[in-house]
């Protein structure tokens, strides 16, 4: 309950004066006194100033962690309590497993997962060689098909989500810094277009919920700012890792629209755009969410 009050107060500026009477001290909670330190050593940025392109839109940007209950928040602070880490550990085994016709494993080129610590915080990124924007998942499959001679993982398969969780887990605590200029700009603008387009019978855009109504209730849950810095997310509702594109698909489906496919160019563009909305936050995945 504290979470509800503090979010509503912290985020609805003008209305806060009237609300102060019943919520009192809770307001101080949002970001001010809360902090997320994973395993007692990885410090997360859970709120910060918005990136330049969002100035005037948000006063502050918040990790989705801020919007969760105390119990859910605590699960993410300790790898032993975080079921998402089980899947990351499974990927650690896959990392060392030789796959495909070339006799290579991930470790052949990358030595260990920790050598990929800078990946999650900078992806999606422009790929010069292929002339497209690459997500982490596309990059993994590029390695598998072009350098390992292996069958690619399904974009939203268990193996891929595990690998994505591993790559994210080794980069936790790094500041998100995804480039939106240069050759990626066209894709970025396409992503922004999708973000502000109303879809479905309910005619909702991403912005209707995550920009205009974050902190408010959506049925029994609280809307976040829709940041993707903490993906893949272990969701308590389905007890498994959920990918960014899986989440996009779920949101658009909930507007009662035909969704784009996971791994589609539209979702890659949207992922690039949404990722840049979180520039300044830290990599958190695998995180715990409702």
């Amino acid at each position: 309950m504290v979470t509800i009050k503090k979010n509503r107060l912290g985020l609805m500026g003008g209305a806060a004066v009237a609300a102060l009477a019943f919520a009192g001290t809770a307001m101080a909670d949002i970001g001010d006194n809360e902090s997320l330190v994973v395993n007692g050593e990885i410090e997360m940025v859970i709120e910060t100033d918005p990136p330049e392109h969002l100035q005037g839109v948000f006063d502050r940007i918040y990790s989705g962690w801020v919007f969760r209950s105390d119990e859910t928040q605590a699960m993410q602070a300790d790898d032993f309590e975080n079921p998402g880490m089980i899947f990351a550990d499974q990927a650690r085994e896959a990392f060392d497993t030789v796959m495909g016709s070339e006799g290579n494993s991930c470790a052949t080129c990358h030595e260990n997962p920790e050598s990929l610590a800078d990946v999650r915080s900078t992806y999606p990124v422009w790929d010069e060689e292929h002339g497209t924007v690459q997500t982490v998942e596309l990059q993994v499959n590029e390695c598998m098909t072009e350098r390992m001679g292996a069958e690619p993982y399904g974009y939203d398969s268990q193996e891929m989500r595990n690998m994505s969780a591993l790559i994210s887990s080794v980069g936790r605590g790094r500041i998100i810094n995804v480039a939106m200029d240069g050759p990626a700009q066209e894709t970025w603008e396409q992503g922004r277009e999708i973000y502000y387009t109303r879809y479905g019978l309910l005619e909702l855009s991403c912005a209707n919920c995550h920009e205009q109504n974050y902190g408010n209730n959506i049925r029994a849950d609280h809307l976040s700012q829709g940041q993707i810095n903490a993906f893949p997310a272990y969701r308590l509702r389905n007890a498994q890792l959920n990918s960014v594109h899986g989440r996009f698909r779920g949101c658009i489906r909930d507007t009662r629209a035909e969704t784009f496919a996971v791994g589609s160019p539209e979702f890659v563009a949207l992922e690039l755009y949404v990722a840049t909305r979180g520039n300044g936050l830290t990599v958190e995945g695998p995180s715990i969410r409702n």
């Binding site: 032993f80 079921p83 089980i86 550990d89 499974q90 085994e93 007890a239």
Partner: protein, 109 residues
């Protein structure tokens, strides 16, 4: 045959004599109950961890019989009194005959 079975334990490295410490254990395991059917209607055979034992310097701390209703990735947390420095040994017994073992040392000062 269960795959990707990984035991994990969390035991404090140090304690004072006679102190009660909290021990956490987790083993990743599908814990297939034997009650479910696959898409062809065939029963998916039971495959669970059926017993979990923790000992300290050879003395039993807990000995747990696990039944099919226990969910995926069984997690046990319990307290133990530590009289002296020593080693906790954790053993999980799988339906398929596999035995998974993990140890953790604790120093009493």
């Amino acid at each position: 045959m269960a795959e990707n079975v990984t035991p994990r334990v969390r035991v404090p490295r140090e304690a004072s004599a006679g102190e009660t410490v909290s021990i956490r254990t987790l083993i990743s395991h599908p814990m297939e109950s034997g009650q479910r059917r696959d898409s062809d209607g065939n029963v998916i055979p039971r495959s669970i961890i059926n017993r979990f034992v923790c000992t300290f310097n050879g003395e039993t701390v807990v000995d747990v019989t696990i039944e099919p209703s226990v969910s995926t990735n069984p997690y046990f947390q319990f307290d133990a009194v530590v009289p002296e420095s020593g080693t906790f040994t954790f053993i999980w017994y799988d339906d398929d005959g596999s035995v998974y073992e993990e140890t953790a040392d604790i120093a009493v000062n």
